[in-house]
């Protein structure tokens, strides 16, 4: 008996490295080549709405990262038990619960942020990036890979909205993270010199302009063409 099992034992493949090449690609692909915002053009709504200033944008980015990583993990763990006929509503329930958690935590510990962001945090539920990754990846892959995939996509989303917010706050309000950069710069050149801010940047239109420019620069560099 025992000899038989030894003979039949399948040679176990060495465990894949914690950050193998394939897994690194899960994180790095959505950053540029397959960016959810600039390539897939998902999640535009919140990218326009929250990006007038860096601080709320950062909170939003962290919230999205949390929700995406956790929902990918949970859905991936449950992937073999979820009945396929109700899978969308199951995903929604999980995402909505996580988003509500984030909202409750913000309300308790960062009330000012909660007031400013609660509408948009709620909208993470319908953020196409979250549902898209659950449907396309987490339902068919193992938990760890799914976590990496969610983290990558959320990072891809985060760096874009943070970049947009950086330029919008700088040009629209003359500050970065609330630090009045324009005032400092102006004071160097003497009392008569004043850098003007652009009101367009504060309105959602400004986000479209910045986002368009980012996509332009990115596609020029990567040579990406829409099919």
């Amino acid at each position: 008996m025992s000899t038989e099992t030894v003979e039949k034992a399948i040679e176990k493949k060495p465990a894949e490295a914690l950050l193998s090449k394939r897994r690194k690609r899960l994180i790095s692909d959505p950053l540029v080549d397959d960016n959810p915002i600039t390539i897939q053009v998902l999640g535009i709504c919140s990218a326009l709405a929250v990006t007038t200033q860096m601080k709320p944008t950062l909170v939003m980015a962290i919230s999205v990262i949390f929700v995406m990583v956790m929902s990918n993990l949970v859905i991936s763990l449950m992937r073999n038990t979820i009945p396929s006929r109700v899978r969308i509503i199951v995903q929604l329930a999980v995402v909505a619960s996580l988003v509500t958690l984030v909202n409750e935590v913000l309300k308790a510990f960062a009330f000012d942020m909660y007031k400013e962001l609660s509408v948009f945090v709620g909208l993470i539920i319908t953020n196409c990036i979250v549902m898209g990754r659950l449907e396309a990846f987490a339902l068919g892959n193992k938990p760890y890979d799914s976590v990496l995939d969610g983290f990558g996509s959320a990072l891809g989303y985060s760096w874009i909205i943070l970049t947009v917010a950086f330029f919008r706050e700088l040009w629209g309000s003359g500050s970065v993270f609330g630090v009045p950069v324009f005032d400092y710069v102006s004071s160097i050149f003497g009392p008569d010199f004043k850098l003007a801010t652009n009101g367009l940047m504060v309105s959602p239109v400004g986000a479209f302009v910045i986002l368009g420019l980012i996509i332009w620069v990115q596609r020029t560099k990567t040579g990406y063409v829409e099919h």
Partner: protein, 255 residues
């Protein structure tokens, strides 16, 4: 097997229960903290009508509570301006009055809290009276606090907040730039009638010489109308109290 209706229903029930427990658990644990944060936020809004946003922003939570306690006295009045200290056997405090809930009652039954801003520790030396206001914006409720100087006519400052106005348009009522436009405006006309102040349509005009007009918000006329209605309604509700203070400005103070 996995596709059977029984399986799907069982799965859904378990999922619902688990998620429900998780959420209600969090809400239970975080509830007290959230209440505290809300109370602090209300104090910030009240103080926002009389001191600048930067000043409030630089204060820590304990400092705001201390400042509030040493500078704010309160009184609750009814529509006729009479002080109300208890209702149905329970004592009434200004902080405990929920303006939003009162808004749904008929005017005669509502309670109207007044927050009296005075010099530190000295409730006799009143600097301004702060009145809560409440109304409807475009999408949802809007509310705020209006501070009147002791002449009971000049607006010393306002704060506004909203539940769901459009960001960048109606939501701009929370910006200090917009709120500054109300400072120095007057609510009574020369004949002594209460006319309140109203935001005009369009934006960018200069209303310096006109004590009852305020520059509007472009693209947010309905929210601005909501603000106008809210101000004229609530200043009207407080008129009895305002009149009583006006006639006795030298006597001052209700504790």
């Amino acid at each position: 097997m996995q596709q059977s209706n029984a399986y799907i229903i069982t799965f859904s029930v378990i999922l619902t229960v688990v998620l429900g427990l998780l959420l209600s658990g969090t809400s239970q644990v975080l509830g007290p903290l959230q209440k505290e944060a809300e109370a602090l936020d209300k104090k910030k809004q009240i103080l926002g009508a009389v001191i600048s946003a930067e000043e409030i922003g630089s204060m820590k939570a304990e400092e705001i509570n201390a400042f509030y306690n040493s500078h704010i006295a309160t009184v609750v009045v009814d529509i006729e301006g009479n002080e109300v200290t208890e209702q149905g056997g329970t004592p009434v405090t200004a902080e405990s009055v929920d303006i939003g809930k009162n808004y749904k009652k008929p005017v005669e039954e509502r309670l109207f809290p007044v927050f009296i801003f005075h010099e530190e520790g000295n409730a006799e030396a009143v600097q301004s009276y702060i009145f809560p206001v409440y109304g409807a914006g475009l999408w949802d409720a809007i509310w705020g606090f209006v501070a009147l100087d002791t002449d009971m006519n000049t607006i010393g400052g306002v704060t506004f907040a909203h539940a769901g106005e459009t960001p960048g348009l109606g939501a701009r009522i929370t910006e200090s730039g917009v709120q500054q436009r109300f400072v120095g405006k007057e609510i009574f006309n020369e004949q002594g009638e209460l006319v309140a102040v109203s935001m005009q349509k369009g934006e960018g005009k200069d209303y310096t010489g006109e004590p009852h007009k305020v520059d509007g918000m472009s693209g947010a006329t309905i929210t601005a109308n909501g603000v106008n209605d809210m101000l004229s309604n609530y200043l009207g509700h407080y008129k009895a109290f305002i009149d009583s203070k006006k006639s006795s400005t030298t006597l001052a103070v209700v504790n």
